[in-house]
Each structure stands twice: as C-alpha cells, then as structure tokens.
C-alpha cells in the first residue's frame, strides 16, 4: 500500500465515520464544541470566529439560516420578505405526532415560521434576491410555505430585475403536506423558468445536506451551482439506495467532491470564500 493509497483510505474512513446527521443544536449554547471530524475540542467563540469551520481540520459545521445570512450579506443590508407566511395543516396530518405540533416545536427551536428565509440584500455591494433554507426547521423540508416564499422572492426579483441566489439545506419533501408538497417542486421550477426567460442570473449554493425534492427542483437548476465544501447532496438518500441495490456505497458517495467529479456542480467553495466568490460571479455577469 503506497502512502497515497493509505491516505485515500484514511480519508474515506474519516468521511464515512462522520455522523450522518450532526445536529446544529448539539453544540448550541455550549462553551466548548467537539469537532465531528477530527474530535478537536474547540472554544465556541473561536469556532464562530472561523464561521463555524473547524480551524484544525476544515470541517464545516452546519449553520442555520440567520447565521448564513449574517455571513453572506453586507452588514445591515438584508431586508427580510414574506416573513409572515406560516404553515397550515390542510391534510390534518397525524403520524406519531400531529403536524401542527411538529410545526410548533420547530418554531420554538428555530424562531422561524418555516424552513426558509427570503429577502433582498447586498453582497459586496451587489444587490440580490435570496432564499436561505434552515435545516433545523423540520429537516429543511419543503412544504407549501417554502414553495410559496421561494416563488414569491423569484417573482420579486423578476419585478426588480435582480439576480437570485438560493442557499439550500433540506432533507426533501414535507411529507405531512403530501402532494401539496410535491407540487412546490413544480411551482418553484416554473418560477425559475421565468428567470431564464428574463435572462436574470440564478445561482444555487448547495450546503449540507441537500436532498430529495429540493435537489430535484429549484435547488439545482441554477445557471451556476456552487457546493459548499463538505456538503452531501443527492436525490435519493444513502439508506434508500443501499436497500434498493443491496450493496454498500462508496464512502465519498454524494459528497461535493463526488458531484464535481460527476459533472453536476460548477464549483466547490470553502465557507470562508463563499461571499467573495459569489460577489465575483455577480460582477462578471453585470456588464450588460
């Protein structure tokens, strides 16, 4: 075994060893945080200073929508839109718990009405319309509210002739809204079609994790697709695929690197580079 082989194997083991769903609230409020990847004990302040990226190994912790917005936008420029839209329970859905109760818990945990924040703001002075998803609200699942807010912010961008940027983090569909959830895929994608016709730039930033209905709709039809380093991105989840094909998946399956190798994304960016990269791309498309 050459050193390179050994290194590759180690790397894949490390990737495979990562907890599949590291929750944001695992570390919220703690003074010291243990890195999921290298196990380093990190002072919370320092981690925050590094945009929630481990200074030891570069592991990107999941962050919520508010933190993301603070990182991406020029201070004080982000104006939230459609914040008042909140979920209903049209199907009166009850599984082991009523949908309304899940909504309530999610709202308490995140202080959000649903899994996306939409608004308009500036990135290094460049004005954009933006939708940022929050994985902590019911796994970033897309129901009627996410679909409606994404569609509205796109329509707002069409009216104001602004580029649109999405930052996704989603486990997929909001099952509690069944076909209504499914239809949000069509609704948002039809809105993106209008951006194409209007020749307005549409950029997707995929963060960990982006799966299912979001991957198969507005999340991946950008003119430019950027994946944040460390993100896992896919249509079907690992477990579903393993059950279907009855074999183990490669350790790097569905990582950003894997997607790049397979031609599905334009580029991978570290969290620390994301803002300047986004601004650079916006400026390169601004001359018209």
């Amino acid at each position: 075994m050459t050193l390179k082989d050994w290194f590759e194997t180690r790397k894949e083991e490390q990737i495979a060893a990562r907890p599949v769903d590291p929750k944001i609230d695992d570390y919220v409020g703690k003074l010291w945080v243990k890195c999921f990847n290298c196990n380093a004990q990190l002072p919370r302040k320092e981690l925050e200073h590094h945009m929630m990226v481990c200074p030891e190994c570069g592991y990107h912790f999941r962050i919520n929508a508010r933190t993301r917005i603070a990182q991406l936008f020029d201070e004080g420029t982000f104006e939230e839109y459609f914040a008042n839209i909140s979920p209903a329970d049209p199907l009166e859905f009850v599984d082991t718990e009523p949908y309304t109760q899940r909504q309530q818990s999610a709202k308490e945990k995140t202080n959000l009405n649903d899994a996306v924040i939409t608004g308009i703001g500036k990135v290094e002075g460049e004005e954009i319309a933006c939708a940022v998803m929050d994985f902590e609200y019911m796994g970033g699942s897309m129901g009627s509210v996410v679909g409606e807010k994404v569609t509205r912010i796109i329509e707002e961008a069409l009216a104001k002739k602004l580029p649109v940027v999405t930052v996704t983090a989603s486990g997929g569909a909001r099952m509690q809204e069944s076909a209504l959830s499914l239809m949000q895929m069509a609704k948002t994608s039809c809105a993106v079609a209008k951006l194409n016709d209007a020749k307005l730039l549409y950029i997707n930033i995929l963060t960990d994790p982006t799966y299912g209905g979001v991957t198969a709709s507005f999340g991946t039809i950008g003119d430019i697709i950027i994946a944040e380093q460390g993100a896992r991105i896919g249509f079907a989840g690992r477990r579903v695929i393993e059950q279907t094909i009855r074999q183990k998946l490669p350790a790097d399956f569905q990582t950003a690197e894997y997607l790049m190798k397979h031609g599905q994304i334009d580029m991978i960016a570290k969290r620390s580079e994301l803002k300047s990269l986004l601004a650079k791309i916006l400026r390169l498309h601004k001359h018209q």
Partner: protein, 315 residues
C-alpha cells in the same frame, strides 16, 4: 389474480357458477335465481369498488395485470412511431415515447413503462427511470414543441430509480430540468396518472396544463411504505400512511392537485382493457380540444397559473 378484498365477490361468483351447473345437470330452470344473484353481485361490486380504502386502491393501481403504457399505445393510438434514446449514450426503457395519432390528431405520447413479468421488469426497470430517461423525455417534448404537437404523458411509476449510476448522472438535476423546461413548452400538455404516481419521478413528466388521474390510480409525494417507515418508523403502518397522505382522486381534486378523474371499468382497468382505452381516449381528446385555440403564451400562462396556485398556508 384476485385481490384480498375481492374474495366476497369470488364467493358469490362461485355460487352462481354452482347454480348454473346444477341447473344444467338437473335440467331445472334456475335462471331467475341466477339472475337475482348476478344482480346482487353487480350491486355488491359497485358498492365495494366505490368505497375502497386508499390502501385497497393502491392494490388495484399496482395490479400486475393493469394495462401498461404499451397497452395504451395499442388501445388509443395508431401510427405510433417510437423515438428512441437521449442521443447521448442511453435508451432508457423505463420511459418510452414517440409520435402517433389519437383518432386523426398527431400527438407526442410519452410514458413510463412497467413490465408484466419479471423478465419484462428487468427490461423496463419496474417503471423506474434513470436520469437518461428524463432527458429522452425532454428531447421528445422539445421535438413536439418545435412541431406543434400536443404532448400526452401517461405516468405509472413507483418513482425515479434510486441507484448509484442514477445519482452519478444527476437524477435530481434531470427531473428539475424537466420541471423547468416543461414550464416553457408552447403546446398543450396533458398528463394522466394511470397507476402509481410517485414523487418527483412522476412529476418529472407531469408539469401539464391538465392533470388527470385514473379512478384507482394514486399520486403522492412518497410511497405510503416509505412514509410509514420514516414518520411511523414502521413500514407495516403503510395503510395508515396511505390514508393520511390523501393520495386518491377525490382528495387530490379537493386540494386542486389534479383537474379530473377518469372512470375505470368496474373493478379496475385490468377487467376491461377495451373499455378503459375508450374512456381514456375520450378524455384525452376532450382535453386537447380544450386548448386548441390558445396561443403559445396563453398555454404557458395557463400552466404557470395552475401550479402557482398550489399550496395551502397562512399569510
């Protein structure tokens, strides 16, 4: 193959058969009794099939003898010319399409195909398309768009295939691109869920001006089994999930997900292919006719507005 809940019918039918035999053998005239039983049987069936639980409709929707896309091609079209391939390396057999006439109307017809035997299902991958299938479909949609052919899609799929190659080749992107590009089509698009209409894999052919479902078909964001194993953490709770997900025609109509329900022959499409074909053909022609005077822009607007309205929330 009879389904569980059809057993009472089987019993009645056996009784009728017995009476017939007795009548023949004995020379007795039992025609009145037989007629009576047959009348009862018919009424029983009507009531039974009109009041099926979602989990029972599911069984009909998945019935192995249910007509598949190729049956419908035979039943409702003529001059079908299949157009193979994505022009890039693959001819996904889970999605088949081509130009054809329905009565005298040229259309582009595209659908997912389920096999009726294990051997067939290996060819058609159980009706689960790969990304290349969606790209082939899009090629055909764009062909139709260029030449002004109305598009008809027939959908019967447990979903897009969850596999390694499918992920590598961009299953999510392929479906997403179809949703977006179908929004731009300047011809009428009619989608019919003929059996299973499961998740993004079904929607990838269904961004249509008119969406119909067959009487015993279903349309859902996730299979009841998948939903049960995630939300209930127990796959045996699939019947409860089927109930909760509101996946059958009347519920879908109520939530404005679909535009209409196509009647099936008593007991389901597999009891009478000809009748099913006739009914489906009638509904498709009616739908195409509805859009015949719309301009390209009106067709796009009609489609946009339809999906734009979907969703229920508080604001």
């Amino acid at each position: 193959m009879k389904l569980d809940f059809e057993k009472p019918i089987t019993k009645i039918e056996e009784k009728i058969e017995e009476l017939r035999k007795m009548s023949e053998e004995s020379g007795m005239d039992l025609s009145k009794e037989i007629e009576n039983f047959e009348q009862q049987s018919h009424e029983y069936k009507k009531e039974l099939y009109e009041n099926l639980k979602p989990s029972q409709k599911l069984q009909i929707a998945r019935h192995p003898n249910r007509p598949n896309f190729l049956d419908y091609i035979n039943l409702i079209t003529n001059d079908f010319v299949e157009m193979h391939g994505d022009r890039e390396g693959t001819d996904d057999r889970a999605i088949i399409g081509g130009v054809a006439k329905i009565d005298d109307k040229p259309v582009m017809i595209v659908g997912t195909v389920k096999g009726k035997s294990t051997k067939e299902n290996l060819v058609y991958n159980f009706g689960m398309p790969q990304p290349e299938g969606y790209r082939k479909a899009l090629r055909l949609f764009e062909h139709a768009n260029r030449f002004g052919l109305p598009i008809v899609t027939l959908i019967d799929t447990p979903g897009a295939y969850p596999g390694i190659k499918a992920e590598e080749h961009g299953q999510g992107i392929a479906i997403a691109v179809n949703l977006k590009e179908m929004a731009k089509l300047e011809v009428p698009v009619i989608a019919i869920i003929t059996g299973e209409g499961c998740s993004g894999g079904a929607l990838g052919l269904a961004v249509a001006n008119k969406v119909l479902v067959l009487e015993h078909a279903y349309y859902t964001v996730i299979s009841p089994e998948g939903c049960a194993s995630i939300l209930w953490r127990d796959a045996t709770k699939a019947p409860e999930a089927a109930e909760a997900l509101k996946i059958t025609g009347p519920d879908l109509l109520k939530y404005n997900i679909i535009d209409g329900i196509v009647k099936e022959p008593l007991g389901g499409a597999h009891y009478d292919y000809e009748a099913m074909g006739e009914e489906l053909k009638k509904e498709i022609l009616k739908a195409i006719d509805e859009y015949k005077d719309m301009t390209p822009q009106q067709l796009k607007d009609d489609r946009y507005n339809k999906f734009r309205r979907m969703g229920v929330f508080n604001a």
